[in-house]
Symmetry: C2
Subunit: 442 residues, 2 copies
């Protein structure tokens, strides 16, 4: 051992080799998330159809103060120890499950016809933490696998990678999920000695496809999940944003067998900067045949080692927002929903105006949400994206990032949730010139 | 596949068996965290020496509003786009690394003589997320192990368990870490084909022991880490709270070789309810011999799959607090530090008054922090804790929870950070009656 001395020699720097860090750090899913988050920053002059960002509308920082005051007042009036309770709840560490589960439960009853015991709800740091908690709990050993509709949100693929849980892709088909493929994949996995634990999907206006399951498919999926004995992980960030058609029931509201773990988010519907999501996990858990509580209780144990608590300050802001709209958040989002619908129609009309039926460019027509998928007659990869951003000043998302097992090379995702109609027009003009440029080359 | 029909049959509930969930859920470390967090709630009449909670002092909810306004004003003045920049930063998803790293860096320079590039700092949801990120990155495969001083904070043991990273205990000795044991453990692990990656420790007023490394030991530890080629993970939640003696330099401030990954927290020094921690990870990372950035960049990729962002609302509150005290947070904590010191001395004096030198009860004498350890002539386990809480109305923490490889059965931890001198006296009277009760039985 070296002796201590007054004049210290400098040490050579510690260098870490990526080959000796966790494999997820070399995984396409994690690299995609960074690329997708940062591409718009690199080309500030480009019109970006990339981020699925909510539009701030009339948001003002003063709203944060107002929500916080509404929540403070509510706790002060509702609790026996009044103002002291509000102060302690905001100041101190609280229960790992959260401090606003009762308010979330009331919101779910009003907006989604989901009637959840607040004790089965865990408030999380964004929906992303909820995904990680559920996947960490379900991944017991090397045999476990997750099913996920393909293409899928990179956040679920990345979370699965972080807990070393392989993802088995299930064809999205044209209705959001191909049930025959789901059944076949579960059976194949079991035949190979694996344990398919759950199927992840976004039933409403999925990211990246924009697809939604129709109601009969929802019922059939629930029946099939019971038959196959797998859980369904329902992720619902965009359900409010239907363009005209009446809302479809969530899987969780139809779930009579506690098959559905429901992931919710207030990022798109209340305030992204609060980073408040939640999970409803009412599945009973047993040990040696005896009940030990619910999956929510187990997720709470895991959360105590990840973030301990979701910041009470951020929970209080969302709690105030829910109180402010009397738990009818869907109604409070009516203007935003109309705005998103108008933009989506503007995008669809703009595509039709620029690419006639004879054009080799095609796209799907979601009836809501933030996303649609365009198919092009050339490879739309990251290199082309860089070229498009630089030369044509328009940014979009290569679909191949969302495919678990390859595919999507001639597809791209467009989002217009945070673009004005004028920006959409400008962006589409530039996109059309990119297409012309590429078609002239081939 | 079942056909959809108008009248739906109810499904039998999905039941999960704990045996098929992740092993961490049956691990003592995760069960401890819950037990320790909840025991005080079960016995509201008891005096609790259990939680290492900061004292709210004169905190008022209005402070949260004030900090938020200070931060808003700062961004509005500092950024070219002014008020719009502040609004966007608070509203939108931001960079995964955070929105206040520059403020954290200034605070570290003022308070700790640590001069970190803001790009090497990642703002996290409490220090717990920082631990998880670092351990996830370092655990590449089955050969990797973490070293940690024993006994250790359950948060590090639990985070290691979540990423399936075994913990090799290193004796804390009487000075916080036994360097000979550290060297021996690293060599033994290597001889067994394992890869010891880092050693975790709390050099100042450790939880649970209250021990601090003296300055020569700090230098020797840095030399030894370089010699052994391992990282040091320095966790520093209590460093401000020395009782009189001048602050000792952090390992990071002495680190000339980028050996130290520094974990910081504003939970004890600013506002627990904001849940803001951070990690300084300036280690260079290479791939195939070429630089690809720093460990902070890699941690950011992992964070993008755990929480995506630390809530900007919570970051802004802490940013405002840092601006408010002109980055001199240690000075801003002077009154709190004096209060904690007075309580610790009151606890030490109270123990001495109740247990004379001839008593079989002994304790250590930390010179700051929130904790001390009492050794008793009987087994102080969870059963005795329940008995103590019920019969004698006093709560403490069994030390065995903090030992990785067993031990501490006749030790208990006392914390008095959130107790008044009167509560400490009452609690110690009750604790003395518990000791008398137990000694009469044996």
């Amino acid at each position: 051992m070296t002796e201590s001395s007054p004049a210290r020699a400098a040490h050579a720097p510690a260098v870490l080799d990526l080959a000796h860090l966790h494999g997820s750090l070399s995984d396409p899913a994690l690299l995609s998330m960074n690329l997708l988050n940062e591409v718009s920053d690199h080309y500030p002059d480009a019109v970006s159809f990339a981020p699925g960002r909510p539009d701030p509308g009339g948001f003002a920082i003063e709203d944060v103060h107002r929500y916080l005051r509404i929540w403070t007042e509510h706790v002060t009036e509702a609790e026996p120890r009044g103002a002291e309770a509000a102060r302690n709840r905001l100041y101190q560490y609280g229960r790992t499950k959260g401090v606003i589960q009762d308010l979330v439960a009331r919101n779910l009853a009003v907006d989604e016809n989901i009637h959840a015991d607040p004790e089965s709800i865990l408030v999380t740091v964004g929906c992303q933490e909820a995904m990680l908690l559920v996947l960490r709990a379900l991944r017991a050993d090397d045999r476990d696998v997750l099913l996920a509709t393909d293409p899928a949100y990179v956040g679920i693929t990345g979370a699965a990678r972080l807990v070393d849980l392989p993802v088995v892709p299930v064809d999205s088909g044209t209705t959001g999920i191909d049930l025959d493929d789901l059944a076949a994949k579960v059976r194949e996995a079991r035949a190979a000695g694996l344990r398919p634990r759950a199927c992840y999907l976004v039933p409403d206006f999925a990211n990246p496809t924009g697809l939604s399951l129709d109601v009969p498919t929802r019922h059939r999926l629930l029946d099939l999940a019971a038959e196959l004995d797998i859980l369904l992980i329902e992720d619902n960030p965009y359900g409010f944003f239907g363009d005209g058609a009446p809302p479809r029931p969530t899987l969780k509201s139809l779930d009579t067998g506690r098959r559905v773990v429901y992931l919710g988010s207030y990022a798109k519907t209340a305030l992204p900067g609060a980073r408040i999501g939640y999970v409803v996990a009412d599945q009973p858990v047993v040990r040696g045949g005896e009940s030990v509580g619910t999956l929510a209780d187990e997720l709470s144990k895991i959360k105590s080692m990840i973030t301990v608590n979701t910041p009470p300050v951020a929970q209080a802001v969302i709690g105030g927002k829910l109180l402010d709209c009397d738990f009818a958040l869907r109604e409070a989002n009516r203007d935003a929903t109309a705005r998103y619908g108008k933009r989506l129609r503007h995008l669809l009309d703009g595509l039709a105006a620029r690419f006639p039926a004879t054009s080799p460019v095609a796209w799907n027509r979601p009836d809501g949400g933030f996303f649609l998928v365009v198919t092009v007659p050339f490879v739309a990869d990251d290199d082309l994206l860089a070229y498009s951003a630089k030369r044509h000043k328009v940014i979009w998302t290569p679909m191949h990032h969302f495919y678990t097992a390859g595919g999507g090379l001639r597809q791209l995702r467009l989002s217009c949730s945070s673009l004005t109609p004028e920006e959409i027009d400008l962006g589409l003009d530039r996109f059309a010139s990119l297409v012309t440029d590429l078609l002239e080359r081939t």
